[in-house]
């Protein structure tokens, strides 16, 4: 259930393992939700800091996602580009409650803006 602080997005199981789903935010960028092989959930603005590729469409491996456009690797935890590339995409705090994925409302708005 959504509250003033948290947005209830759906069940964890709706996100494929080593995959991603998106949340559309009206008037802004999508938020990409990721689920790693270890079962951790992360949320980032769905926009690579490089050329704005949709990170939700990338290959998730370890704690990173490879952007589908030019293969930049972005840390899911920090949004920072890994390796020799420099750049950062905003992250959104996530919590799991009873199998539901909750996104921080304020950060979602900021990240999507």
């Amino acid at each position: 259930m959504s509250t003033a602080e948290w947005l209830d997005i759906g069940w964890v199981d709706q996100i494929p393992v080593r995959g991603s789903r998106t949340v559309q935010v009206e008037g802004g960028d999508d938020i990409a939700l990721f689920r790693t092989a270890e079962g951790k959930i992360f949320a980032l603005r769905d926009r690579c800091p490089h050329k704005h590729g949709r990170l939700s469409q990338g290959i998730v491996h370890g704690g990173a996602v490879a952007c589908p456009l030019h293969n930049w690797r972005i840390s899911l935890a920090t949004g920072e580009a890994l390796g020799d590339d420099r750049g950062c995409t905003p992250t959104v705090p996530v919590k799991i409650d009873g199998g539901r994925v909750l996104l921080c409302r304020a950060s979602t708005l900021m990240a999507a803006a």
Binding site: L7, I9, V17, V23, Q24, K51, R54, Q57, I59, H61
Partner: protein
């Protein structure tokens, strides 16, 4: 399985007769041949009806990780090419030392000048009632493995069989592991309080027990077998405390003892084993013995490593440069995948001994190194065995480790200067005597000398000195030795697949097939991937290799596919997609054109473009709209053009003899037929075909992966062209006379490329790598091989020609397209 002895009367060489066609007997012969290939006329007698195989690899065969063919050490060609007579399946039953003859069970009598006894050991069968019931077996040879496999199969048919393994030592646990993987419910009975008590201390034994129980085995320690019960066959095992455990199969693996009966009957000196001197000579100077059947200096050995040393000493002695065997220190590794256990030397402790112990409970790591007088005398490692070779080397060299003492337990990398020290330095620091390959008894010195003699690749090392040729767990060490020995030269060898692995593409593909691997996690586990779930380079490659190896069986992993292949459309820089329906041979119709025009208008596609591959590309489609677009295109009879895939793209054609005044054959018709045959197939990279109706080549067939140029007398087949960054014209493969042949050769070529090129390797660099002659040899010169390739392609195609668009349009994998939620800040979540 019988190679008749060559009783060549003209052959006046000394006749060496070997009793035992196992690891020791054949290794001794190999060592002799290496020193002097023509010294002896050789006859080998074996009890089993087989060629020489690697007995210690029976466990992986039982576990389904290897097949019998993989563990053969010397095949029939080896016997033939070395003129060795093999009498297999007819064991020697008597030795007459006075007459210098041996007699086999079938009555064959053979005279010898030198006799080598390598009878190995016999499984110890505990003398309990019921031990002779059908269904009670040992774990010693291939027949035992076959009996276990048969029992597991029979168990499966009735919904799960039960097996009891008596003995929780190395052999018993490997048998239990294999049976468990084969679907049997396994109970291990062990008389002692901890497992593998001869190799592991109590702590490591306990960790091992926990790990095996977590895998579903029942482990009973302190379990004393009273009798094996059953009427016609085994039905269960009764313990002395009265417990009855039902079983369809009982494996006795309580131990082995030297097989000495023949020697004893012949009057040779026998203690626990056949007594030999430092040159492996028995009490009769004409008779030698080697392997597990011997007793040297009061010691008998039941492991493989001492055998290699014994065989070297034996061969040195026989060719008159005696070196002498001085006994062996042994180490043990358990071959149960995913459980790493190592032990070496003496860890029983004692007053003069000091223990250094490291435990990391959360990682399940336990390490113990035992020192005496500042020298390593024993080591037990559980969970992290990477430093096993190093401790074993320190143990064998008896190096003074007082300077290292504080950091010894953290392993070699740390001891040689920091936790992230160059792993190459660790291998460089090993002594020449350090054992690299435990399966085949190959030392670092031997590997380095093989490399120096020209074995400049992993495969070459495997075939020259056999290091890493069996279980493969030392592959990393061998590769490091290659790098150390050859320096920069090694970089010209095959590249590794990515940073997650030390294996190259070819190695991975070969191992997937050899070990019958069935999933990406399995490949990563078995090939020691350095990352938990790979990277965006290796995951798509592994997905493809498995798909190619297991058509129809492998479950495609969508998360290991690049976005275009996951969404069956081409991602564009703004995050929208382009959609290309297939136009067979570049031919279209009013209905198709209308449907495309309707889609463009209905979904507001900003652009439609004619592609280089003779079809239409609709740009600017949103991810959410893709299924609806496809549904409309499907309704007009169009399917996916795979413009997004490492797959068959287009078959470009010119109009040919149907319209063109120069056309020699029906190039459009042939193009359509080829596209119908080959569409939908996944490949290492994109694959383009073209058919030109005459040598004017309007379809540009000579820059395609497979191009056909029609001529009056038939069809020229061209391969390996590319119009990309590096333009490469095709090579002429051959000329054929009929359409059917052109299609057959095309299918065979595609399959050869699918099976042998590395992932993301186009046909052009692939052909430059393997050579046109190789491709010709496989496709043109080998009729049966070509037909087999074509047949495999068609089998694979029978599973891959479902239209992915139709499946998605019907709602399959909708999560790839729809957002999980919509959020409108003013209102609430939709």
């Amino acid at each position: 399985m019988e190679h008749r002895p060559i009783t060549a009367e003209s052959d006046t060489r000394e006749h060496l007769v070997v009793i035992g066609n196992g690891m020791a007997g054949c290794r001794a012969v190999e060592e002799l041949l290496a020193r002097d290939p023509s010294r002896f006329r050789i006859t080998i007698f074996g009890a089993e009806p087989r060629v020489n195989y690697n007995r210690i690899m029976l466990s992986p065969v039982l576990a389904g990780e290897k097949e019998f063919g993989d563990i053969i050490i010397n095949d029939a060609d080896w016997y033939a090419s070395n003129a060795i007579a093999l009498v297999a399946g007819d064991p020697v039953v008597a030795i007459d030392r006075a007459a210098r003859t041996v007699t086999t069970r079938s009555g064959l009598v053979e005279r010898y000048d030198r006799l080598l006894i390598a009878t190995g050991s016999d499984p110890f069968i505990i003398p309990v009632p019921g031990k002779d019931l059908p269904g009670v077996i040992a774990f010693r040879d291939m027949d035992d493995v076959n009996a276990m496999l048969a029992a597991a199969d029979a168990g499966k048919k009735k919904g799960g069989g039960a097996a009891v393994v008596i003995g929780g030592g190395l052999l018993g646990l490997e048998a239990a592991h294999g049976l468990s993987l084969r679907g049997m419910k396994v109970t291990v009975l062990h008389l002692m309080p901890t497992l593998m008590e001869r190799q592991l201390d109590e702590a490591a034994g306990w960790l091992l027990k926990q790990a095996l129980e977590a895998r579903g085995q029942t482990i009973l320690t302190g379990a004393d077998t009273a009798e094996i019960v059953g009427e016609m066959k085994v039905e269960g095992v009764k313990l002395k405390d009265g417990t009855l455990i039902p079983a369809d199969l009982v494996v006795m693996a309580v131990g082995i003892r030297p097989s000495t009966q023949l020697a004893r009957d012949a009057g040779l000196a026998v203690g626990r084993g056949i007594q030999v001197d430092d040159h492996m000579v028995t009490s009769d100077p004409a008779v030698l013995a080697v392997g597990e059947c011997v007793e040297h200096d009061g010691q008998v050995y039941g492991l493989v490593a001492p055998l290699w040393d014994m065989c070297r000493s034996l061969a040195d002695g026989l060719v008159d440069k005696p070196t002498g065997y001085r006994g062996s220190v042994t180490s043990t590794k358990l071959k149960v995948s995913g459980i790493d256990v190592f032990s070496a030397g003496d860890f029983s402790g004692g007053d003069e001994c000091e223990d250094i112990v490291l435990r990391d409970a959360s990682r399940g790591v336990y390490k113990r190194v035992v020192l005496r007088d500042d020298r390593v005398v024993g080591a037990v490692l559980y969970g992290d065995t990477a430093d096993g070779n190093w401790y074993f080397d320190l143990l064998k060299t008896q190096e003074d480790v007082s300077a290292l003492r504080d950091i010894l337990i953290f392993g070699q990398a740390f001891a040689s200067g920091g936790g992230r020290a160059d792993p190459k330095a660790a291998v460089a620091a090993l002594s020449d005597d350090a054992e690299i390959c435990g399966c085949n008894g190959v030392t670092k010195g031997q590997v380095v000398s093989s490399i120096a003699k020209g074995a400049h690749s992993l495969d070459a090392v495997r075939s020259s000195c056999k290091a890493s040729a069996s279980c493969g767990s030392c592959t990393g060490l061998v590769e490091t030795l290659l790098a150390l020995t050859l320096g920069d030269e090694v970089r010209s060898g095959p590249k590794t697949l990515c940073k997650c692995t030390s294996f190259g593409h070819d190695d991975v593909r070969r191992e997937i097939i050899a070990q019958g691997m069935r999933s990406i996690p399995e490949v990563m586990q078995k090939l020691h991937w350095a990352t938990p779930d790979g990277c965006s380079s290796c995951r798509p490659a592994l997905n493809y290799y498995l798909l190619c190896a297991l058509p129809g069986e492998y479950q495609d992993d969508q998360q290991s596919r690049f976005v275009n292949e996951r969404l069956h459309a081409n991602i564009q820089k703004d995050g929208t997609y382009s959609v290309v329906p297939r136009m067979w041979g570049g031919i279209t119709s009013p209905a198709e054109l209308r449907a495309i025009a309707d889609v463009v208008e209905k979904f507001n596609a900003p652009m439609v473009k004619v592609t280089g591959g003779q079809r239409l590309d609709i740009f600017g489609i949103k991810k959410e709209d893709l299924p609806a677009v496809w549904a409309d295109l499907n309704a007009a009879g169009m399917v996916s053009g795979h413009a997004y895939g490492k797959a068959l793209r287009t078959v470009k054609t010119c109009v040919g003899s149907e319209w063109c005044r120069f056309g020699t054959q029906d190039s459009t018709g042939l193009g359509v037929k080829i596209e119908r045959m080959s569409w939908g197939s996944w490949m290492p990279h994109k694959f383009k075909i073209a058919v030109s109706g005459c040598p004017r080549n309007c379809a540009e067939a000579t820059i395609k992966d497979f191009g056909i140029v029609c001529v009056d007398s038939g069809y020229e087949l061209h391969v390996g062209g590319n119009g990309g960054i590096h333009v490469r014209a095709t090579d002429l493969l051959c000329k054929v006379g009929s359409e059917q042949e052109a299609m057959d050769y095309c299918a065979a070529f595609i399959q050869l490329y699918r099976e042998e090129a590395g992932y993301l390797e186009r046909t052009a660099p692939w052909i430059e790598r393997v050579g046109l002659d190789y491709v010709k040899a496989r496709i043109v010169e080998d009729d049966a091989g070509r037909e087999a390739l074509r047949a495999r392609f068609l089998v694979s195609q029978s599973f891959s020609q479902g239209d992915p668009w139709a499946q998605r349009a019907e709602g399959a994998e909708a999560e790839h397209h729809a957002p999980m939620a919509r959020f409108t800040p003013q209102e609430e979540l939709a």
